[in-house]
């Protein structure tokens, strides 16, 4: 022990390269850059500002939901019910706006988040009090919440023309020059980053995901933190639901069907360990961005729509493999962390 030294000491000569190299998100940035270059060679239209604005519009909701999913995954859980929660909340809020067209869109947002928190709390209750493993509990509520959409709506849809103008402008309006939905996603990302890094409950999320038994012994309230994470997931899904209904100007029985897989994909591509304990907001935002670019690029380079889904999956897998290869290579230069 007399000879112990920290792995960091060797490289105290902190040059820029090493700082960059230790930066976990660097490899995914490299992948994004490569993809952007490749696609813009095939189709220069890809590099236009309009196109990037489209991509950001498309991934805003995904960013919000993927961040919710990320917090759950860091605790070693998973929330498979996010798609159904979005669908259910979107349907309920849409019906309310139709009945009360004078209602402020802000109230709709708060209402959506409130309903979402209840749905998330039920997930959290099943997992913490009921002792049901997260994957089973949320698989159950995936069906329950999706089923409730049909019960609630009687199979009806809410269409664009029924919605009040104010509500439709919520997502797409751009009073500040940038569409609201992009701004909201950015604000959520910043808030989640601050929460995860600078509050004790946020740190507890990493703690219980990194070593649940030790967390209990260290006096962290594992039950409360776990419950909280699912409630947060519900709240963010509620927000995403209202934005979804506003952006697509409709609420359908199949709204956000299968979105849980996209949210998991964005998290994992963004470097969140599926084993829990690690993951960053920046990584997840980049992960969602990469997914957005892939989807956009496949259209721009005119891949047949029949092939798109398979190609998308293939690209995601490639990205994850390349990412782990790059970060392993980088770690050899830069040591740990």
């Amino acid at each position: 022990m007399a000879t112990t030294y920290s792995a960091n000491d060797e490289k105290k000569g902190n040059n820029l390269f090493l700082t960059l190299v230790r930066f976990r998100e660097l490899s995914i940035m490299i992948i994004i850059l490569l993809l952007v270059i490749l696609v813009s060679i095939r189709n220069p239209a890809f590099l236009s500002i309009e196109n990037f604005r489209d991509i950001l519009l498309n991934i805003s909701i995904l960013v919000i939901v993927a961040l919710a999913q990320t917090m759950v995954i860091i605790t070693r859980g998973i929330d498979l019910s996010v798609g159904s929660m979005i669908g259910l909340v979107a349907m309920m809020v849409a019906f309310v706006t139709v009945s009360f067209p004078e209602m402020s869109p802000l109230v709709a947002v708060l209402l959506g988040m409130a309903i979402g928190s209840c749905l998330g709390a039920f997930n959290g209750f099943l997992i913490t009090m009921g002792g049901v493993p997260p994957i089973i509990a949320t698989l159950g509520t995936l069906s329950i919440y999706r089923g409730l959409i049909f019960v609630y709506s009687g199979g009806q849809w809410v269409n664009s023309y029924e919605m009040p103008d104010g509500f439709r402008a919520l997502a797409k309006g751009a009073p500040l020059g940038i569409p609201n939905i992009i701004l909201i996603a950015a604000v959520v990302a910043v808030l989640v980053h601050l929460f995860l890094n600078f509050t004790r409950p946020g740190r507890d999320i990493y703690t219980i995901g990194s070593n649940p038994d030790a967390a209990k012994v260290a006096g962290v309230n594992v039950t409360r933190t776990t419950f909280m994470v699912y409630v947060i997931s519900g709240v963010l899904c509620g927000l995403a639901a209202v934005l979804w209904a506003s952006r697509f100007e409709s609420a359908q029985t199949n709204t956000a069907l299968g979105f849980e897989l996209q949210s998991v994909a964005a998290s994992v591509v963004g470097g969140v360990s599926i084993l829990g304990g690690s993951g960053s907001v920046l990584g997840v935002v980049l992960g969602a961005f990469l997914l957005g670019i892939i989807e956009n690029a496949l259209t721009l380079v005119r891949i047949s729509p029949f092939w798109q889904l398979a190609a998308q999956g293939l690209l995601i897998l490639t990205a994850v493999i390349v990412d782990s290869a790059i970060s392993r290579r980088l770690q050899r230069f830069g040591g740990e962390s």
């Binding site: 000491d9 740190r203 012994v217 304990g277 740990e336």
Partner: protein
């Protein structure tokens, strides 16, 4: 010392699980500024006692006083608030978090309502410095050695101003330098007035460190002694309740034919030019320092990592062993060093573990016959006197010694003629150790050829007919039982010249 109020005073503490008494009427007095050893065989109740003190378990009966005041801990948190900290055998750190956050987990310093990373690193750095440990608080725990992780845990205990620090077998996976370092810090804590409860199977460590010792046997209190007043024999007697006249019950056995012959065996990067013969009925000891390549030789013979040069002969015939299946078919059994990872499948039952290597024998036309399987498992478990509820119990729930017995039962069920044992008694208590040694001796007398790798010199000297010594991948020396001594083995293992030793 006895006129002071003890930091911890326990009286008539009992705890049972499902009708089985784990602790029965146990007492304990711990004073500040002492290192108090807790001694007992596996299953004697040490761990349960520790868990009662740390609030993991609640006693069924009895009282606990902390500095003269009655306490009752409903959970570990309450015990921690009272200044009781514990370091367990397996470090309980958060691998994804930095050292600083591991130390201050749950109590991260806040500044203006938000976690202050600068403050956190500063506080953690100060604690590490106080311990004299040179670690960067920003390093992630994942990148630390076991010893370094323990230092972080001690720093964590310091940060809560622990009055009582419990160390449960902290040295079991440390090198001797690291043990010295741990002892230095423990003594420093003692000097600062911390009460330390220290658990270790290595008696010599207790003599080096502890002031007093309390012994438990079968969940009952045996006695407390000043360390200065006891001898090794006395401690063993207190632990096992009987005198172990012969710690190493080696029977004289007639050595038979050469069964296994290893000829100029090499594996690139691990060991080179290893040649030896193993006879029926013989126990061949293999000594050397950790990392000398002994385990690699064993793994090569067993086909886990086949040799890159040289040959292996069984009964005089050259064989090619390129997989463990092949080795088993040739009658070789291998009990690995790391029983948790390589020897047992912990979540499976004892029975399933025992029958695993020979599943084919219990099957009829590809379908397992549960009756046959069960019978074989029961037989193996009974023969080795495994302490368990039954063969349905999960391997993970057993104590270290009993796990080792299950591993042995598993390999004996394959009816091997050649048995390779890698550190067969590491981390198991004196009583079980003697049982394992007795079993080895028995097997040898039935004609089994045994290759035993061990880092414990008394074990090597006590059990082996012949002893091979390896150093840095080479076979450096061979001794006969009669002329081997600890000093000679140590010299051959370290490469020291004779004159350099006192």
């Amino acid at each position: 010392m006895n006129d002071k109020i003890p930091v911890i005073r326990m009286r008539h503490v009992s705890k049972s699980f499902g009708g089985v008494h784990a602790l029965k009427d146990v007492q304990l007095d711990i004073f500040s500024g002492e290192v108090h050893a807790l001694l007992g065989e596996n299953g004697a109740g040490k761990s349960t006692l520790i868990k009662v003190i740390t609030g993991v378990h609640q006693p069924d009966e009895g009282e606990i006083d902390l500095n003269g005041e009655r306490v009752y801990f409903n959970n570990p948190r309450e015990a921690q608030h009272q200044g009781i900290a514990a370091i367990y055998q397996e470090p309980s750190l958060f691998p994804d978090l930095s050292i600083a956050e591991n130390i201050l987990v749950g109590r991260q310093p806040l500044r203006g309502g938000r976690v202050s990373w600068g403050q956190m690193n500063k506080e953690a750095g100060a604690l590490l410095k106080r311990l004299g440990v040179d670690l960067n608080p920003r390093t992630k725990a994942r990148n630390l050695s076991v010893a370094q992780q323990q230092m972080v845990e001690i720093a964590r205990a310091l940060s809560v101003e622990a009055r009582v620090l419990i160390m449960d077998e902290p040295t079991s996976s440390l090198t001797s330098n690291e043990v010295d370092e741990l002892f230095r810090i423990t003594k420093q804590l003692r000097a600062e007035g911390t009460a330390v409860i220290f658990i270790s199977h290595r008696l010599e460590e207790l003599f080096a460190l502890a002031d007093r010792v309390t012994t438990l046997r079968d969940g009952e209190y045996v006695g407390t002694r000043e360390m200065a007043d006891v001898t090794t024999e006395g401690l063993i007697q207190m632990m096992v309740g009987r005198k172990l006249d012969d710690l190493f019950p080696k029977q004289a056995v007639e050595i038979g034919e050469v069964v296994l012959e290893v000829d100029h065996l090499s594996v690139n990067g691990a060991f080179k030019d290893i040649s030896f013969k193993l006879h029926a009925g013989e126990i061949l000891g293999m000594a050397g320092l950790v990392g000398a390549g002994r385990t690699d030789v064993a793994r090569s013979i067993f086909g886990v990592k086949p040799a890159t040069a040289g040959e292996i002969k069984i009964d005089g015939e050259t064989v090619e062993i390129n997989s463990p299946q092949k080795a088993m078919a040739l009658g070789i059994g291998y009990v690995p060093e790391d029983r948790q990872n390589h020897g047992l499948i912990l979540p499976m039952t004892i029975g399933d573990n025992v029958t695993l290597p020979m599943l084919d024998t219990y099957a009829t036309k590809g379908w397992l016959n549960p009756k046959k399987e069960k019978a074989a498992a029961v037989e193996g478990v009974q023969k080795l006197e495994v302490k368990a509820y039954g063969i349905e119990q999960k391997a993970a729930e057993l104590s270290g010694g009993n796990q080792q017995k299950v591993v042995l039962a598993k390999w004996l069920s394959t009816n091997p003629r050649i048995l390779i044992l890698d550190e067969p008694t590491r981390g198991i208590d004196v009583g079980t150790k003697a049982a394992v040694h007795g079993l080895m001796s028995n097997l040898a007398s039935q004609g089994m050829a045994i290759l035993m790798i061990s880092s414990e010199l008394p074990e090597v000297l006590g059990m082996s007919d012949r002893i091979l010594v390896m150093r840095e991948g080479l076979l450096t020396k061979e001794f006969d039982r009669s002329d081997a001594t600890q000093e000679k083995l140590m010299m051959a293992a370290t490469g020291t010249v004779e004159a350099a030793l006192p």
